[in-house]
Symmetry: C2
Subunit: 342 residues, 2 copies
Amino acid sequence: MIRLIVDCFGGDHSPAANVEGAVLALNDKKTFPDLSLILTGDEAQIRAELDRLGCKDDRIEIVHAPEVVDCNEKPTDAIRLKRESSMMKAISMLRTDDSVAGMVSTGSTGALVAAATLRVGRLRGVIRPAFCPILPSMKGGVVGISDSGANVECTPAHLQQFAVMSSLYLQSVYGVKSPRVGLLNVGVEEEKGDDLRKESYALLKDTPSVNFCGNMEARDLLGGDFDLVVCDVFCGNVLIKSTEGACLEMLKMIKRDISSSLLSKIGALFLYKMFMKEKNFMNYQNYGGSVLLGTKKVIVKGHGSSKATAVKKCIEQAYRMELGNLNRSIEEELCKLPSAKL
Amino acid sequence: MIRLIVDCFGGDHSPAANVEGAVLALNDKKTFPDLSLILTGDEAQIRAELDRLGCKDDRIEIVHAPEVVDCNEKPTDAIRLKRESSMMKAISMLRTDDSVAGMVSTGSTGALVAAATLRVGRLRGVIRPAFCPILPSMKGGVVGISDSGANVECTPAHLQQFAVMSSLYLQSVYGVKSPRVGLLNVGVEEEKGDDLRKESYALLKDTPSVNFCGNMEARDLLGGDFDLVVCDVFCGNVLIKSTEGACLEMLKMIKRDISSSLLSKIGALFLYKMFMKEKNFMNYQNYGGSVLLGTKKVIVKGHGSSKATAVKKCIEQAYRMELGNLNRSIEEELCKLPSAKL
């Protein structure tokens, strides 16, 4: 039995989407043959949602938590002052209850990452957990970006660990054999970039557990030639947001242009299926959340605006991470590196 | 009379596109009432192109340069070993001939920036020249990204100078009144980011000649709320390449989907005008080149694959920079800053 927590508050559509996502997962016994869920948050509201869905599944347990971590709250304040929140109750269960494998949240990223790192703790060997979101690749499949979470300085040893952990994640959850890893840089030649890139290049080249394919440029993110992009957190954030931003702006422009004339509206009818596909392509609801790699329990952060299917997808990621024993592999591989923090 | 050099070699379509771009500019007397051009490169080839175009304009002068700077060449090698190249001959004329206002090149960016900085020299007050490309904004108009050129470390004083110089550039060449400047960061709140961002935020807030509108996220690049993005060179490079990459991949996907069925091909005919517009939207041929701001002469770097209209656009940028006395304004404003290198 894999026991996971779903933090039911903090997202734009919570608790409805989070509770429904949980129920969808429990009902899908093919994907989740062996799942039980703990829902944290206001018990009355969660019960009301379960009633609405007609769900009486005894694999659901509710842990009452009257408070909610606000998205604009300082992470340290959230940890200190919101102990009775749905997120911090979940974190504290991860810390104390060995039978709970991990959690899914659509709440504040900063608070979740900070609380998971400080309260749940790091796996043996891990210098710092890495936040790894997933984008679709144009050739089908996905591309991971590690790290792209918080705003901290990175060293070559961090980047090396990000590469190792995220490669294992892509293998374990997405079945990518020997993920092709690219180092985000301003050019593809080995000597490109600042000291961080040059030293990271040298380290990655000599990491047996990483299929390092050299430097890559930001324009090649979606092209399908890399399964994983390794970068410092600041650049990772810029990379993922500019890519999402550009795709969304393109779609907006197309939408505006279609409504501008009758002729183009007629044309758009013929292309309806295609436009739906393009729209779905950049829709994170279909790709699940970003995982935090390197903490003692499995943590998946869904987008703040996740709907039920996206929450279910996040549960699937957490389930597969646990099923594949990802954390044990991470510990094993990281302990082989000279940078391992033991 | 404004005298500019067109480096006719080094681009994918050179010398044909560069020579034709020069001729297009000279023929457009409305935009360029007072222009004369010096073309550098292999004289026989340039003459052959001029003959092909039937151009006998006496405002063209050819300066023979038998060598070409290769795109993969180390900038320092190019400067040292390729003195007889079309680019280095142009640089040396900028250095020695006061009557020449600036140059346009579609050759190696690294070699051009290095040679311009080292040989032509910085304006009074400038710590380091900034490379400022332009992207289209979704609300019409443009957005500049400064700096996004070379791979060097940046300080808050650099970012402040980038903001001042690029604001003046957008005013002078694109007529943007009081450009809205955003600092690229991982979130919009004032306290976000690493030390570089925090210190730059404080500096920019206190720079009277900059209309600083706070932090901005990468996803808001094309939305039209900012006229200028200020960032370190590494992130600038990531920002512009991921945006271009995402837009191009979207277009590729649409193209592939359209060809996949007869129905969608019919639909696409109705939407032909729209698709042409979207395709043109991200086509840098329409937006001219990236300018190098802060050197003693005007330098415009066109994209390596520039065709004739793009080269003409680069000439227009250089012409307007000179016409608007941009360099004098830059010197005046930068000398007011405490960071001014006098």
